[in-house]
Amino acid sequence: MPRYVMLMRDHSSGLKALRDNPQSALDIRHAIERWEAKIIASYRLLGEWDQCYIFDAPDNFKAYRSTLAQEFSTTSDTEILPAVDLDLFERLISQSAKTGGPHPWQIKWWAQIVRLLFYYRTYTKWSRRTFTRHDVFGTEKLRHFRGPCIVVANHTSHYDQMCLIKALPWRIKLNLFIGAAADRWFLEGRKEISLRPWYQSLVAGLYPIHRGGGSRALDYPRWLLDNGANILLFPEGTRARGRTLSPFKHGVSILALEKGVPIVPIYLEGLRHIRPPGRKEAVPGPVAAHVLDPIHFPPGTKVPEATEMVYRAMRKAHEAALAREDATRGGSSTS
């Protein structure tokens, strides 16, 4: 969860309230916690600021919203400073902001052989280490399926593709290319070979997506589909937090309608407990990949309709997964 530092300067009315009732200093703590924030440290200061709170909040809006509570607005001025952990900050300023890729050679036959040779190292080793159980359902739907296609999945963890890849037949997965954030996975100048852009393109089959790149972000996936490749996209755009399935972006539908290729939705279950956003270490646990019916859009389908069709299919699987999770939790708590 993102961290924030909040500095507060009391008005005279705030100081009077504090003098009459010192406990009112704690009201602010409760006001912050009402917005799902967790207080890490709190201090009373001597100097140009009067109070300092260090807290974790789900996002900028909730951090800001908590300061509009009555406890604040009538008694003090506030300044919220989004904070970056110093280790991460040091890493960020050491890195180049330049990104590499895409590498069109990644669709060549020899690159597919490299991916096959590295398959154990890239996927099997990690999934055995991280998934205590790895179920795959609905693979029969892809038995006679030929590409090119667009595979879409819900996104909650960096381990999503490790879970998903097992559900795909070899003819799809060796020719599958995965959109990944350029600013995270394609930065130039990394020391580790496995983090270099060419390695991501060759071994992991990733290609860079520049966030906020608009319609140009679809140029390379268009080229991949034109050349018979399959692509994997996470239409939520970024990893979802908690139990939500975020709204889908339209890029997937634009590509599918323009190129006349089907969408293969795969719902991934259990991954948000493995390594959700904000957690550095993976916690081993059971996961499952549910292959849903491939979606072929009838001629004349509009982009928003297509996005809605894909979202509805995933939403149904998502609600079923949440119901299973609640039933398991209920069962385990009563036993």
């Binding site: 010192p22 709190s42 001597l46 100097g47 300092c52 300023i93």
Partner: protein
Amino acid sequence: MLSTLTDEGRKTLKVRPERLREVNKELEEMGARVTAQYAVLGGYDFVNVIEAPSNEVMARIAVELGARGTIKVTTLPAIGIDQYVEMMGANPPRKTD
């Protein structure tokens, strides 16, 4: 301690990010301990929570760091909120003749 980088400080940090850690070691040598440190967005560049044995030690540190010309610092003595509430609830000491 709230600190803001000067232009020279930004250049130094870009070339040598490891300076951040080196400064922490130097603070320890001067008798203080950094318990939490964040790079922040807003009116300041860093927020540092530092434990020092006295205000005098902290004043010395502020001068030492400021004299390098790479950062401007604002030091604010801090009291834990719980301790503060307890202190505020206590009666003032009575004068004894």
